[in-house]
């Protein structure tokens, strides 16, 4: 080991590199953190409340409840608990997060600051309209941006997330068919490569789902689609660019075929980031499309939400929107809240949509502007193609490029190595990256779907590519044990998911009850 002039060791010799067992189980910055319920002290409290005045209870026949069972902690303990937990998460703020189909781009903090202006965050949804003109103006402005970027005739901001937007779109399609008295349409066509939400949505709305196969070049098989189209088909749900990261070259022919058969063309807009500001969905023959503000328009994913899934509609479906929506009358904005006021099909959510997300998305759109959004799509596609170009000789791209905003590989390059897609993903974690999307789409074997987004620098992509190339070589050299043991440097190593599902433990229970249950 090397020493400095004071005799202090300055480097870590190989003998020191093993992670030592510590007394606490903590490992430097990785600190073990018990459940909040395991830190309880009765009577301790993290807030100071005023004395509750003497009162007459007015609960009618309902009795005040006995104990709730919540733990008592002081504020510093709570702060430390959540800070420590946060440190066990990977996040976009920490590094490359190339989850295909998820568009994990940088989340600007200006968005957060704007959403927290009291004029937006501290406004009640049922205040008189005269006191919320600015909030309604913001919704109207966001609607204008979404309509202009997509070229579509109408938009609803109501849906809470992408899947909720899908539901909204399918309900609109159904309403349009019903309005024409066309009730014989019982099927929705969905390509094999679709997100799971598409068939789930169509089925939830009472449609039979029919799958459309892909061609060898990863696109919808137009002939197979035409063969399935008929008077029993309500519409097609298609993601474009599709989940293989490819643009559907025959999209105009697809739209024409669907329309020719009397159906509607629903586009899953999860991958809108590839084309935002460069291509308008209206020019592709699309009738209805949802947009994930939490993907394309940079609102944070927050560990699983909240999202926001506005839906844009072509003229053909524009009359079939849910309530509420904003209208402008004599210079004032007004909310239409009841379906009875127009042909709206109903309501999807309490109140007016995910306002907090609207503010963030609009802050992002205004920051980039039309010129910046053009560059967003350009750089997103450039980054994905660069990654594909740099990896194509050591991994196996599933389809020829160019790709759009994400590139798809399958596990042929791992054939005979004993290493799986999952193993590669877990080894990437040790290298300091979040893994790509694994095993999706289902149309290729052992899928690895990489979406870098436009907010990654070339240096970041180069480092990722270098790591992935080395891992691919390592896999081919037969070092199976290395991969199966990964990850080794995380707060937890591989977790027993089978055991978790077999005997689900879905909540903490007090130790006394735990002991009882074990008996």
């Amino acid at each position: 080991m090397s020493m400095n002039n004071q005799g202090r060791p300055t480097g870590i010799g190989s003998a020191d590199s093993a992670v030592p067992d510590t007394i606490t189980g903590n490992r430097g910055l990785q600190i073990e953190e018990p459940l909040i319920f395991e830190q309880d002290s009765a009577g301790r409290c993290g807030v100071d409340l005023p004395e509750v005045p003497a009162m007459r209870m007015r609960l009618g026949t309902v009795k005040p409840r006995a104990a709730v069972g919540l733990p008592g902690l002081a504020e510093p303990q709570v702060v430390r608990h959540y800070t420590r937990l946060s440190q066990k998460n990977y996040a976009i703020d920490s590094g490359l997060y190339p989850l295909g189909s998820c568009t994990m781009k940088h989340n600007p903090r200006l968005n957060e600051k704007m959403a927290r202006l009291p004029g937006f965050s501290d406004v009640h949804p049922l205040q008189p309209e005269s006191t919320v003109q600015g909030a309604l103006e913001l919704m109207d402005t966001l609607a204008h941006w979404l309509k202009t970027l997509t070229g579509m005739a109408a938009v609803t901001l109501a849906p809470a997330a992408g899947a909720h937007g899908e539901m909204c779109g399918i309900m609109a399609i159904r309403s349009a068919h019903e309005a024409r008295g066309d009730t014989g349409r019982t099927k929705i066509l969905v390509p094999e490569s679709a997100h799971g939400t598409n068939p789930a949505t169509a089925a939830a709305c009472g449609y039979t789902v029919e799958s459309i196969p892909a061609t060898p070049d990863g696109r919808v098989d137009l002939e197979a689609l035409k063969a399935k189209l008929g008077p029993d088909v309500a519409g097609l749900m298609l993601t474009n660019p599709n989940t293989c990261g490819l643009f559907e070259r025959e999209i105009l022919e697809i739209a024409e075929a669907v329309h020719g058969a009397g159906g509607y063309f629903y586009c899953d807009g999860a991958n809108f980031n590839a084309i935002v500001g460069r291509v308008r969905p209206a020019d592709l023959g699309i009738d209805v499309m949802h947009i994930n503000l939490h993907k394309t328009f940079s609102t944070p994913h927050g560990g699983g939400g909240p999202g926001s899934g506005p839906v844009v509609f072509a003229e053909s479906l524009a009359p079939y929107l849910p309530v509420p929506f904003v209208v402008k009358e004599k210079g004032d904005f007004r909310l239409v809240e009841e379906a009875g006021e127009g042909p709206a099909f109903g309501r999807m959510k309490a109140f007016h949509g995910q306002m907090g997300m609207f503010v963030r998305a609009l802050a992002y759109m205004m920051s980039h502007g039309a010129d910046g959004l053009w560059q967003v799509a350009s750089d997103a596609v450039l980054n994905a193609n660069y990654v594909m170009a740099r990896l194509q000789d050591v991994m196996t791209p599933s389809f020829d490029g160019p790709c759009m905003h994400e590139c798809l590989f399958d596990d042929r390059f791992l054939k005979g190595t004993g290493v799986t897609t999952l193993d590669i993903a877990k080894a990437l974690i040790d290298e300091g990256f979040h893994p790509m999307t694994m095993y999706f789409p289902l149309v290729v074997h052992g899928a690895l779907l990489i979406e870098p987004t436009e907010t990654e620098s070339k240096a970041s992509l180069d480092q990722f590519v270098t790591a992935l190339r080395a891992l691919a070589e390592r896999a081919k050299s037969g070092d199976v044990e290395y991969f199966q043991g990964a990850p080794r440097l995380t707060p937890r190593r591989r977790l027993d998911e089978t055991g978790a599902a077999r005997k689900p433990i879905l909540r903490w229970t007090p130790p006394a009850e735990q002991a009882q249950a074990a008996e």
Binding site: M55, A203, G304, G305, G340, H434, K458
Partner: protein, 452 residues
């Protein structure tokens, strides 16, 4: 552009690597060659502004924000499913930690133990509050939770008729009836029940999948649903209890103790601001035996390769990404960060804080009711309530509320806002810990002036 790290030199060098690869594209335009020619725009889309600096964006959005009246800037008594409570500073600080804010759904558990442990704790807190066995990792909001609860009851009972109480928030009712129409089940929405006097037990028959009640009701009435739960059970139907004010769970006998099978609730009151209606956080809790019919994500405890406790998303064979068209729901993204805010707020409150705060809310509402009862022409409709109640006015409530707003008082929600054309003389009024004595005095005084 501040969000884009690539330089022109980077772009050129990347394109030359792409040109040298089998992709063969010399320009970015060429990377878009699969897009039909007619759909390729020659340049940025017209009709929108170009990029702006932070300062300009702040000015533009700031001027929109300034045209709204923040509830905290004046005496405010609005509820009807969204409540203004004080959120401790710690909550927003922790929620904004990038590791929580900018993480995705925890699909890679080894690098998501933070989010996963939060969800496990959240599920436990929701189960404790509602008095149920198990809760999921959240839904979009209370209204969609309610609709999903009905669909779950339909699956469990293999029946297709839901009875919706006339005390159910009309937005919750409308979301459920919209789903009913498209998904294909019957939703029997009962007549509006401003007095809290309906009796639903007689409506439960062998075709009924569930009865949905709200406690406190949208009009504020508090009821014991134990007998209704028994009536449902006797006929093989489920009782769904909706809660739109989660704070009430700190004082009232919880739905689980009344015999509810499913609880669908709005969690906005804890940790989350009003946000003009969203994002909020739907709570969803059930009896243990129905776990595998639940919608949404579930976090479960397990062990890692070294035998240490850890957490994963589990029972995902219910979910769309595995089960596709056979999934229990199409929900994917939920309300993760709002659930985190809920959980942090509740951790700060603890047993003493949560129950104390609930009592304080009840006390404030009692004080407000007494004050308003003293205003000439005002009649308190409720004999029971938690922190919100209905008053009858001698003239249409919408106009009164508008006049109060001109005096910078947000004096409740006119019932006609929720039920257009109906009960125009009724007003919903809520009080929370944020309302001071002088707020209440100002409200009573202004109301008396407007009514005189």
């Amino acid at each position: 552009m501040r969000y884009l790290p690539l330089t022109e030199a980077d772009r050129r060098s990347m394109l030359s690597a792409i040109q040298a690869s089998p992709i063969k594209a010399a320009t970015v335009d060429d990377l878009f060659r699969d897009v039909p020619k007619a759909a390729r725009r020659p340049g940025p889309i017209e009709g929108l502004t170009n990029h702006m600096g932070e300062l300009e964006v702040e000015r533009a959005l700031g001027s929109m924000a300034a045209r709204n009246l923040p509830a905290g800037s004046c005496p405010s008594f609005l509820g009807a499913g969204a409540y203004r409570h004080h959120v401790p500073a710690t909550v927003d600080h922790l929620v904004q930690r990038g590791e929580f804010l900018t993480a995705y759904t925890p699909y890679q558990p080894e690098v998501s133990q933070g989010t996963l442990q939060v969800l496990f704790e959240f599920q436990t807190q929701v189960a404790l509050l509602t008095g149920m066995d198990v809760a999921n990792a959240s839904m979009y909001d209370g209204a969609t939770s309610c609709a999903e609860a009905v669909m779950m009851a339909n699956r469990v009972t293999r029946r297709k008729k839901a009875v919706l109480s006339g005390g159910l928030h009309p937005h919750y009712r409308d979301v459920t009836t919209t789903d009913a129409r498209f998904i294909g089940f019957e939703a029997d929405a009962r007549p509006t029940d401003p007095m809290g006097s309906e009796d639903l037990a007689a409506l439960v028959d062998e075709q009924t999948s569930c009865v949905v009640v709200q406690n406190p009701s949208v009009f504020g009435h508090v009821r014991d649903y134990t007998a209704l739960a028994q009536a449902c059970q006797a006929r093989g139907a489920l009782l769904i209890v909706v809660v739109t004010e989660a704070m009430s769970l700190g004082l009232l006998t919880p739905p689980g103790a009344m015999g509810a099978d499913i609880v669908a609730a709005e969690g906005q009151s804890l940790g989350n601001t009003l946000n003009f209606g969203g994002p909020y956080v739907g709570l969803f809790a059930v009896k243990e035996k129905y776990v595998r019919q639940m919608p949404g994500r579930l976090c479960g405890q397990t062990v890692d390769a070294d035998g240490r406790r850890g957490f994963v998303l589990t029972l995902s064979t219910r979910e769309q990404h595995i089960r596709r068209e056979k999934a229990t729901s199409n929900i994917c993204t939920n309300s993760g960060l709002c659930a985190l805010a809920f959980s942090i707020h509740l951790s700060l409150l603890g047993e003493e804080g949560f129950t104390g705060l609930a009592r304080l809310n009840h006390a404030k509402a009692g004080q407000l009711a007494d004050r308003l009862a003293g205003v000439k022409g005002v009649e308190i409709v409720n004999d029971s309530f938690f922190n919100e109640f209905t008053v009858r006015l001698p003239k249409p409530a919408a106009g009164v509320v508008e006049e109060l707003a001109q005096r910078r008082i947000l004096g409740g929600v006119p019932v006609s806002r929720l039920y257009p054309g109906e009960m125009e003389d009724l007003l919903l009024v809520a009080a929370t810990e944020t309302n001071t004595d002088s707020d209440m005095d100002a409200f009573a005084k202004a109301l008396s002036e407007v009514l005189s």
